[in-house]
Symmetry: C2
Subunit: 108 residues, 2 copies
């Protein structure tokens, strides 16, 4: 029975990335932003079968997680992948998956 501090700061950040990516709509948005040239809210909304209020909410969550960033280009808003955090996420996940040694004593 531990008290707390089960995870390091970095691991907690990883959890937040994972949680943000763990929804179909949000992964769709991330993939869209990674590829498309147009990153305006309206264009994102057009790709999705959900209300704009909901899209806005998902964008907020992605932003809070640090995976994207928004920029006002009045009267529009342009969203982008946050490259800095994207790279941090990349490293975090690849680091995680490397934590399983080839040979491990228990289990197969």
């Amino acid at each position: 029975m531990q008290e707390k501090n089960i995870l390091t700061q970095k691991q907690e950040v990883l959890v937040r990335f994972a949680k943000a990516m763990g929804h179909p709509t949000r992964l769709t948005i991330l993939l869209f932003l990674a590829h498309q040239e147009s990153c305006y809210f309206g264009d994102i909304h057009d790709e999705l079968p959900i209300a704009k209020a909901t899209v806005s909410q998902h964008l907020k969550e992605l932003k809070d997680a640090g995976l994207i960033q928004g920029e006002i280009e009045a009267p529009k808003v342009k969203y982008c992948i946050n490259r800095e955090n994207w790279n941090i996420a990349k490293e975090s996940f690849s680091g995680l998956f490397l934590e399983l040694p080839e040979k491990k004593v228990c289990c197969k």
Copy 2:
């Protein structure tokens, strides 16, 4: 406004991995299983400040996502990282993070 099929099968699998990893307790469990020699339920439970029913539930979710597997070793249950899916997850995430081109027209 799309209808459906927003994500490919592989991308949906990625969402499930991400969702499973997007909880502190579950990431803790994954890290524990990746490192420790003892993978019995009781040992996992001992690491966590939560009820065994809750631990069991989280293990079920990790198993449903495919990240771990359980094996009865009566009267105990031994849990392990599912290496096959672990590698699929590794590839899926690294593939995702590579989807952002270095140069992209919109955004910075």
